[in-house]
């Protein structure tokens, strides 16, 4: 059965260790919280296969639920449906921007066919000055989920949470 509100609230207060303005619920990686007997079961889906934060997130969820009174906690990893940045709410996107990380622009591209030499027409606005005169510096940033951009208007580099 659906977990009681206090358990949902507890999980909703667990922040992503890499992006501490978003909770794991904001990010959409918590797919379900339910109670099976005296065990609270949480389904999470990874953002990226090798995301090193996943283990930390699982531990944080477990601790938060114990603090909220859960007797036993089990964190399940689920793969379907596959995580997409489309699950990040508009409100959470704004918090990301205010934190200095450009949120995913629009919805995730529909990935089919081959990719080589195709350039996405993603326009990424600078999270600081709002200019759209920005350029991609690297598809890979400090974590797997981010790319590095440079703003030619305010001359600042910034990170962009890739739309996937």
């Amino acid at each position: 059965m659906r977990a009681r509100d206090e358990f949902w609230t507890a999980v909703g207060e667990v922040l992503d260790p890499e992006v501490p303005v978003l909770s794991v619920v904001d990010l959409g990686i918590v797919r379900d919280v339910r109670e099976e007997g005296d065990t609270v079961v949480v389904d999470v889906t990874p953002t990226y296969s090798g995301c090193p934060a996943m283990r930390v997130i699982e531990n944080d969820i477990t601790e938060a639920l114990h603090r909220a009174g859960a007797k036993n906690v089990r964190v399940n990893t689920v793969f379907h449906p596959v995580w997409t940045t489309d699950w990040i709410s508009p409100d959470a996107r704004e918090r990301l921007r205010a934190y200095g990380i450009a949120p995913p622009s629009g919805s995730a591209p529909v990935a089919t066919g081959l990719v080589s030499l195709q350039r996405g027409a993603e326009v990424v606005a600078c999270p600081r000055c709002g200019s759209r005169r920005t350029e991609l510096r690297s598809e890979f940033g400090s974590t797997a989920c981010k790319a590095i951009y440079y703003c030619t208007a305010c001359s600042e580099p910034f990170e962009y949470l890739k739309a996937i």
């Binding site: 793969f79 379907h80 596959v82 081959l114 510096r137 890979f140 940033g141």
Partner: protein
């Protein structure tokens, strides 16, 4: 048991290539590239972790992703030989990444509809990641191939050296064909033509020459590896073997 054998191929390809990429950490030609190589490595090792865990579960003998990664000998690894070749120079690393990533984009795109639900889910996640690897490495084919004389010569030499290791990617055997029939695995042979077309498209744009098909090296799927794998494993496995069961 046979499902385990099949999953080991998928997992080992990623583990070994991911390890080779990780060797660049701190040695990249520029900071952004150092980070990119480490990120791609992390994606591949993450995928390997999921696949090896699944392989261990399918076997049902309590082997985990860690035991499979750290406590097998070279003859027990089932990766294609191209994954284990030393990283070489940056052109060699990127040429290999390009050839393998284009193959994997085609492969994973189809594996997403595998009738094995967990495998399909892992493939769907890996597919998104691998598209980035393909795009990034294709970019480098353009930059290096259409760059200066030395970069052109180095990436062409890398492609010529790597070409004879590409045939193994498309090889199948009875085990794998059985899983293709069941809708679990992807028919590798069917990927050959689209792979070739895409590789030729990029290399031509990069002013590079597509090497001629000739003798193809093989043996990795049966555990017959180059001498390089043993050296790689010695480094990758030493901590786990020196301190079995250690956690940190």
């Amino acid at each position: 048991m046979s499902l385990t054998a099949f999953l080991l191929r998928l997992g080992d390809d990623r583990l070994i290539l991911g390890h080779r990429l990780s060797e660049w950490c701190g040695h990249g030609p520029i900071l952004e590239e150092d980070i990119a190589l480490a990120n791609m490595s992390l994606d591949l090792i993450g995928q390997a972790n999921l696949l090896l865990e699944l392989a261990g579960k399918a076997e049902g003998q309590a082997r985990t992703a860690d035991t499979l990664a750290y406590f097998r000998e070279a003859v027990d690894f089932r990766n294609a030989l191209i994954m284990e070749l030393p990283r070489g120079d940056f052109a060699f690393t990127m040429a290999r990444q390009f050839l393998v990533s284009v193959f994997e984009v085609l492969h994973l795109e189809r594996l997403q509809t595998s009738k094995h639900g967990t495998l399909a889910g892992i493939a769907a996640k890996a597919y998104k990641e691998t598209r980035y690897h393909a795009r990034h490495s294709a970019d480098w084919m353009l930059k290096l191939g259409d760059g200066i004389a030395e970069s052109h010569q180095r990436v062409q030499a890398a492609l010529d050296e790597l070409w004879r290791f590409t045939g193994e990617l498309f090889e199948s055997d009875d085990l794998e064909r059985g899983f293709v029939t069941q809708g679990i695995a992807v028919d590798r042979e069917a990927l050959r033509a689209p792979w070739r077309a895409e590789v030729a498209h990029v290399l031509t744009a990069a002013t590079l020459t597509v090497p001629d098909d000739g003798f193809m090296q093989r043996g990795g799927r049966e555990g017959r590896h180059t001498e390089h794998l043993g050296h790689l494993l010695a480094e990758m496995q030493i901590v786990a073997r020196s301190f079995p069961g250690a956690e940190w």
